[in-house]
């Protein structure tokens, strides 16, 4: 069973397509928008007798309502080699599947853009109403992927493909990116509602061995480091990641994104729902 989360946005959608989200569009709905003369909005079913009598010019007044609209939901995924670490591709696939399914259940169009050094169109999905969530072939190829790109520079190129309307963008990455690149990216994403989803694995800091020699290789730069693990060094690893987490929260706040959502070890749809209702 595909996990499902509920998302909520704090802005009004501009699209005309009916959906679940509050919208600027006037139409069939329950949210009262105002009174307009019948000549302007020729809908005699909603003639308001009280407003008509109160109108100093004696015009027939009609109640108008705001309809609820669909919003585009995008998953913008970072496929640099750093994402090929203990269970991160798995978490990415689960998140993408859950997002597609949730969008389908909310009646929203869903798009998936996967970026390495270039946009991986073979893995990406155009913005559509995908019936039943993520197409099975995309889900399969996402589950099988072994990220090996040297960087995620295509994330910037993907922004024009997000469309002109305001969209909910789940920016899925481990955010081991340059701060400057991240700042430019977040600034470019300002028209959209960006949820940074940080995919971290406890194996990066929490479950490192207490003692022993480990030899680490950065798959993006090829840099190698041999470390003599001991409790004090492990503590410094944790400290580094804690500092990184604070830095990411600060960067997101300064560049108009939502507070980052941290996926640590496994994808928990309920935690994501809670996140959307709390922020």
């Amino acid at each position: 069973m595909i996990p499902e989360f509920h998302y909520r946005v704090r802005w009004r959608a501009s699209g005309a397509h009916p959906g679940r989200h509050a919208s600027h569009q006037t139409g069939g709905g329950y949210e009262f928008a105002g009174h307009v003369p019948l000549a302007t909005f020729p809908d005699p079913r909603n003639i308001d007798a009280h407003a008509t009598l109160n109108d100093p010019f004696g015009q027939l007044m009609v109640k108008t309502f705001r309809q609820r609209s669909a919003i585009p939901v995008f998953v913008l995924a970072d496929l640099s080699a750093s994402m090929n670490f203990a269970g991160k591709p798995q978490m990415l696939a689960e998140l993408a599947a859950a997002a597609a399914y949730s969008a389908y259940r909310s009646g929203d169009p869903f798009g998936l853009i996967v970026c390495g050094e270039a946009i991986r169109w073979d893995l990406s999905l155009p913005l559509r109403w995908h019936k039943g969530g993520l197409p099975s072939d995309t889900a399969e190829s996402l589950a099988k992927i072994r990220p090996s790109s040297r960087n995620a520079s295509a994330l910037g190129e993907a922004i024009p493909h997000l469309g002109r309307g305001k969209a909910l963008v789940l920016l899925v990455s481990d955010f081991h990116l340059d701060d400057s690149f991240l700042e430019i990216l977040l600034d470019a994403l300002r028209p959209h509602d960006v949820v940074p989803v940080a995919v971290w694995s406890p194996a990066e800091y929490e479950s490192l061995p207490d003692w022993g020699l480990i030899h680490l290789r950065d798959p993006e730069t090829g840099r190698q480091r041999r470390l003599f693990m001991r409790p004090s060094l492990k503590l410094r690893f944790r400290e580094t990641f804690r500092a990184r987490r604070e830095r990411l929260i600060e960067l997101a706040a300064r560049h108009g994104a939502r507070e980052p959502f941290f996926l640590e070890g496994r994808f928990d749809a309920e935690a994501l729902t809670r996140y959307f209702y709390e922020t």
Partner: protein
């Protein structure tokens, strides 16, 4: 010290010592980002140390395979015990006493007996030395090679016996005495102690040969000349033309020309023999500086041991490796 390699081409393997600096030898585990790894000086030092150990171990192994050796060399040593060959005259004249008689109530001890008694005392006192024994009369007699066994030496001295016979033929005796030193390491003073009461002429060819052997063996010569009253003195040049009469003088001259340390003692009575032996003892006590040849030594074991000790920390590090977590 000078070194050499038996198979120096194997030293090319030493280029392998660069390998640890290129690769660490430990399989890498992919990590998400190098920027997230905290700086750690201990780890960096340990990494460099392990690489250096591996590098040095490979160097030592390459050197070991190339079979290094130390060239043969001369080493200066200080000798303590002397090697003394007792060259004992057992010609018939030794049966006489110092006055020239060998029978009768007043004859006293024969020269032979005096020499044996004093030599036995001498041997008893010298516990550090090696002794050999050669008797000679007309022909040399092989009695005892160089040994430290006191009992054997004393028995050998005793075996010369009272009953000497034949003539005094020195050259073959000297040759045999010198032969004992052949092939023996020079670890102390080499002394030929010639005890005789007369001399014969040595042929020119033999003279040259003996001189050569004395110099080759770096042996010293002490001659205790047991002189009877009617024998010739060493220092007095012959007045007549007879060669027989002056053979002691000529031998003395020849010994002086040997080019090795030489002392002669003219002993005319038992007391003089004792003094002469005491003097020989004093000379033999002088320490000897000599050079010993140390043969070419294989040093590859040293390098293998070094490589082994360097490899132990690497083994320890290998056992500490963690590949998955």
């Amino acid at each position: 010290m000078s070194f050499g390699f038996a198979s120096p081409w194997w030293l090319l393997l030493a280029a392998g010592a660069l390998l640890p600096w290129l690769r660490s030898g430990q399989p890498t585990a992919d990590y998400s980002s190098a920027t997230m790894i905290p700086e750690d000086r201990l780890s960096a030092a340990l990494d460099r140390g392990l690489r250096a150990f591996a590098s040095l171990a490979l160097l030592a192994l390459a050197a070991g395979v190339a079979r290094p050796y130390a060239l043969e060399q001369w080493e200066e040593r200080l000798g303590t015990g002397a090697h003394i060959v007792l060259l004992m005259d057992r010609s018939s004249s030794m049966n006489e006493n110092f006055s020239g008689r060998y029978l009768g109530g007043t004859s006293g001890e024969s020269k032979n007996a005096v020499a044996r008694r004093l030599l036995a005392d001498f041997v008893q006192r010298r516990s550090d030395d090696l002794f050999a024994m050669v008797g000679f009369s007309a022909a040399p007699r092989y009695v005892m090679p160089l040994t430290q066994d006191r009992e054997a030496v004393l028995a050998a001295i005793d075996s010369i016996g009272d009953r000497g016979h034949g003539i005094t033929n020195i050259a073959p005796g000297l040759a045999m005495a010198l032969d004992f030193f052949n092939g023996k390491p020079v670890t102390g003073a080499r002394i030929v102690l010639l005890v005789s009461d007369g001399a014969t002429r040595i042929e020119d060819e033999s003279q040259d040969l003996l001189r050569q052997w004395f110099q080759d063996n770096q042996a010293r010569l002490h001659w205790i000349y047991l002189r009877s009253k009617n024998s010739a003195a060493l220092g007095r040049a012959p007045t007549g033309s007879s060669e027989n009469a002056s053979s002691e003088y000529l031998l003395h001259q020849y010994f002086q020309s040997l080019g090795v340390p030489y002392t002669a003692y003219e002993a005319e009575n038992p007391q003089a023999v004792e003094d002469a032996i005491a003097d020989v003892e004093r000379l033999a006590n002088q320490p000897l500086r000599y050079f010993e040849k140390i043969p070419k030594q294989d040093l590859s074991g040293v390098f293998y041991a070094l490589a082994l000790t360097l490899l132990f920390p690497l083994l320890a590090a290998k056992s500490l490796e963690v590949r998955r977590w």
